[in-house]
């Protein structure tokens, strides 16, 4: 309860963040027999269902070599985005008793929740790596593998920024949790997770790829799964138009910081 400085790099802030992530991660799957294995099983089950549907019934992915890994990449990335933003909506309000009694940097609450989702993503990526290693039709572009962490960072910034916005909005407007839930459902289909972009007209491809989440998923697929069959933003746009998803990410981040900072002053009174 010592006034913890808002400097994100101070020793105390780092200690507190570490402890909060630890708590968050522990609480997520406590009382369940297999614990955080669930965080791996959830996307894997979703993957199994969708894979069956889209190769056996709808047959969208049946012709694509390496479709399972292609699908899994999309699902894992989207799961992280969904988990981070959806769990953070109520994070500030649910920590109300803390906020009303002690002055801690409020952003730590959101960042801690996002970091514990990131740990899950890390575990998922290990599983993905195994899939890639044991699937015959995939090709890893080793020369571009170094971009993978950068893309994960972009994903983390995007998801955390949105988490900042929705969690701060939820303090005043409780409708946001429902609205965001609906938007996520729409986002699942707007983002090319299930289907290859080839099946939609070029105009739609362009539009869909402006979404940073789509850009990230496609970039990762190109590097890790199917270099030849993945359409990226760079294929449909030329310089400087293909920077749009990155600019959107940055703008969302800037707005998130501005909005969250402004709202955080009154959290103690409003939660």
């Amino acid at each position: 309860m010592i006034q913890i400085s808002t400097n994100p790099f101070s020793r105390q802030t780092r200690n507190l963040l570490k402890e909060m992530v630890r708590t968050d991660f522990k609480l997520r799957y406590q009382n369940s027999a297999i614990g955080y294995l669930w965080s791996l099983l959830k996307p894997l089950f979703l993957f199994a269902i969708l894979y069956t549907v889209f190769t056996q019934i709808l047959r969208i992915g049946a012709d694509i070599p390496g479709y399972p890994v292609y699908l899994l990449t999309g699902i894992l990335i989207w799961s992280f985005f969904q988990e981070t933003t959806a769990t953070s909506v109520t994070s500030i309000v649910s920590k109300g008793s803390l906020i009303r009694k002690i002055n801690i940097p409020k952003y730590l609450i959101v960042v801690a929740s996002a970091l514990s989702s990131l740990i899950n993503l890390g575990l998922s990526l290990v599983v993905l790596a195994l899939f890639i290693a044991f699937t015959a039709n995939t090709t890893v572009m080793w020369s571009l593998v170094l971009f993978v962490p950068l893309l994960i960072i972009q994903l983390f910034i995007l998801a955390t920024s949105i988490a900042f916005i929705v969690s701060a909005m939820y303090v005043k407007f409780r409708d946001i949790s429902y609205i965001w839930d609906l938007l996520l459902r729409a986002g699942f289909y707007v983002t090319p997770i299930l289907y290859p972009l080839q099946i939609v007209p070029e105009m739609v491809q362009k539009l869909l790829l402006l979404n940073p989440a789509a850009q990230i998923i496609q970039d990762l697929r190109r590097i890790l799964v199917l270099p030849n069959d993945t359409i990226q933003i760079y294929d449909v746009f030329s310089w400087p138009m293909y920077l749009v998803p990155f600019v959107i990410t940055v703008l969302i981040a800037i707005f998130a910081i501005y909005y969250f900072k402004k709202q955080a002053i009154d959290f103690a009174e409003n939660v």
């Binding site: 507190l16 009303r100 009694k101 409708d175």
Partner: protein
Amino acid sequence: MSQDYAIKVENMSKEFLLPHNKKTSLKQTVIGLVKRDNTYEVQEALKDVSFEIKKGEFFGVVGRNGSGKSTLLKIMAGIYTPTRGSVKVNGTIVPFIELGVGFNPELSGRDNVFLNGALLGFSREEMEEMYDEIVEFAELERFMDQKLKNYSSGMQVRLAFSIAIRAKGDILLLDEVLAVGDKAFQEKCVDVFEKYKASNKTVILVTHSMTTVEEYCDRAMLLNKGLIHKIDNPQIIAQDYQSENKKTYLKSEAKQRDRQDKKTLESKDISIKLLNKDDKEASNFKPGETATIKISWKNPKIKNVGVALVKQTGDYIFGANTILDGFDIKNKAVSYSIKLDLGSGDYLVKAGFFGDTDQDKIDFVNDGPKIIVDSPEEQRWGGVIHLEHEWKS
């Protein structure tokens, strides 16, 4: 730059905007925007408050509920931001608005120690060093791997307190910490207070306990409805606080008595009427006039009725009952006439209802009708009761 203040508050006001109809959904907000009924009530919790707390001072903040104490403490702790004015803090603050902040019932005692420690600004390594001492001080060695939700509230407080006293800071903000816990725990608190006092730390204590204020504080502040009523030595503040409390207490007590008596009269089906010599309901009488008190009731168990006259000061003037007077009650009603040889003033009629014996109390009306005795001309005698008298020479 060396400064001798620990906290300096200048012209500080805190307002809370209380929406008349709190809007927590977008729909309500939209409707509110259209209808333009986004009205707020501005509640001023603190009004233009200025004061200074010196380094090393043990400073008490007292005041009735709603006087702004806790708001002030939360502003000093940086939880709330002041609406106007400034709060300057010279040093590190350790606020104890509540013990065990951040405690999570689903985590083990051990995990909670580390989480709470991090909130206090300690690293994991520092906490590991102190861990055994904390557990020992809390006397919870056997329970540390159990979930906190299985702790008794006393155990939780002990654990929280054991961690809290480790906190390092120059300025301590304490809010009613002493209000919880048993005698032994309070003694531990007192020891810690003594230690703080001896080590010359600045302590700001919000409390209702005047003994604590008088015993430990160097100075104290009395808040009243968001204003500083007085800053003075603890004895004077304690006196002011107590007299302020007494006033409101007496007021509310009188109100409550009124309400209660009305309730008993209505609910118990007892009627007490005060009549003058013309059999009309009245309350004003002249000295020497006869008043008739008509009492009726519904409870058939009532066998004996007593009527008493009491001065508003509580002095018992006169009382009689039917058994002692050898009067037999019929038809659940009596009429009691009394000659008011009384001095000017207000007299309260009280009535008691009994069964077969005096011990068998059935009901009591403490606030019956009021008899106002008013002399039309100047009263030529003094006192309450007019006694037959004679002068001789």
